[in-house]
Symmetry: C2
Subunit: 210 residues, 2 copies
């Protein structure tokens, strides 16, 4: 049972979302640590002081963006790892899913890649924690696979982190591909590269024991 929000709270959420969207747009050409509060409110069309009704600071807004960005990534990762059938087909599909996600949410992906090692500590920590949770999820999915017989938890988590990092690297490459002159060709190149890298890791996984 969802509590119906008054038109007051609805308006507040609307401008809050407008602030997040505007910030995400501005962050395509700069880092969070240089994002100004006034810059964001100006883009939305509200007074600078309205910002404080929603966020304590731009760093606080950044943490909110982490939730949003990784929230949209959440179902994608599930879908990537879960589907079984042939191993090679799974990799091909995973890479395509990553490419599609980058096309659907380029700004979110850019934000995560940029701020994962960025200059704002709370945001870095938020991303690190969320990625760790993703790795746990991936590990749980990997554990279901019959190919994981004889693997201990530590090794499974190690592999999960390898996959998660590889996904982010691949996503970042697809992002760069979008800024190329020959977009289609570059996307193809990245697809081939990422597929082979994933495949090599999978080969390593298959022969890990013994």
């Amino acid at each position: 049972m969802s509590h119906t929000l008054g038109i007051r709270q609805v308006q507040k959420q609307k401008t809050r979302q407008a602030l997040l969207d505007a910030a995400l747009g501005l962050l395509e050409e700069q880092s969070l640590s240089s994002l100004g509060l006034r810059e964001v409110t100006r883009a939305v069309g509200v007074a600078p002081t309205a910002f404080y009704r929603h966020f304590r600071s731009t760093a606080d807004l950044g943490v909110a963006l982490v939730e949003e960005a990784l929230g949209s990534l959440h179902p994608m990762i599930r879908q990537t790892v879960a589907t079984a059938e042939d191993s090679d087909q799974r990799i091909v599909r995973a890479v395509r899913l990553i490419a599609d996600h980058v096309d659907a949410h380029p700004a979110h992906v850019r934000f995560l890649a940029r701020e994962r090692h960025g200059g704002v500590q709370p945001v870095r920590e938020a991303i690190r924690d969320q990625l760790a949770r993703f790795a746990e999820e991936v590990k749980a999915e990997l554990a279901k696979d019959p190919e994981s017989g004889g693997w201990n938890d530590s090794d499974l988590l190690m592999l999960a982190h390898l996959y998660v990092d590889q996904m982010l690297i691949t996503a970042s490459l697809f992002l760069e591909a979008r800024e190329t002159s020959d977009v289609e060709h570059e996307r193809e190149r990245v697809t081939r590269l990422a597929t082979r890298q994933m495949r090599l890791i999978s080969v390593g996984r298959r022969h890990w024991l013994g």
Copy 2:
């Protein structure tokens, strides 16, 4: 035969280096896109206008920092991949070399990890180009290995990029470990993780063909 520089050029290089060092220090707690020109000159103790005698902008300074940071990383990567003997021993040594490099040049590593996907385009490009050159170097070393029989250039480069990315991820983890309460324990944990990940990739490499 090195041309002896006049005391004028020597002084210029000295303040230039001071600017680079000060910037590197300031960048431990922020990103390049928020680094102010006056901020840097203030830290060095020179007039703001002196900055223009050395760099066109802070972005220009950033590109210079890329050269410096990857220059110090250059010999390390050579040493990492080159030494042959037992395969497992090579991995163990490589991880230790990375750890030592992070301890020796933490600010450089932080700068590269942060600005690789950062908000300043020319710096991103400079890092990308340099890393591509490193991957070419790694590929050349891998080609010497008898284990690379039957590998084509494309696959070798694919593997080289995998190794380079893995090195950067590992370096970044060692960097984060330094900011932990239990530094020694965390460093140990990262060492074990990175070693196993490298090992898995090597297993994949060994069984890649056929």
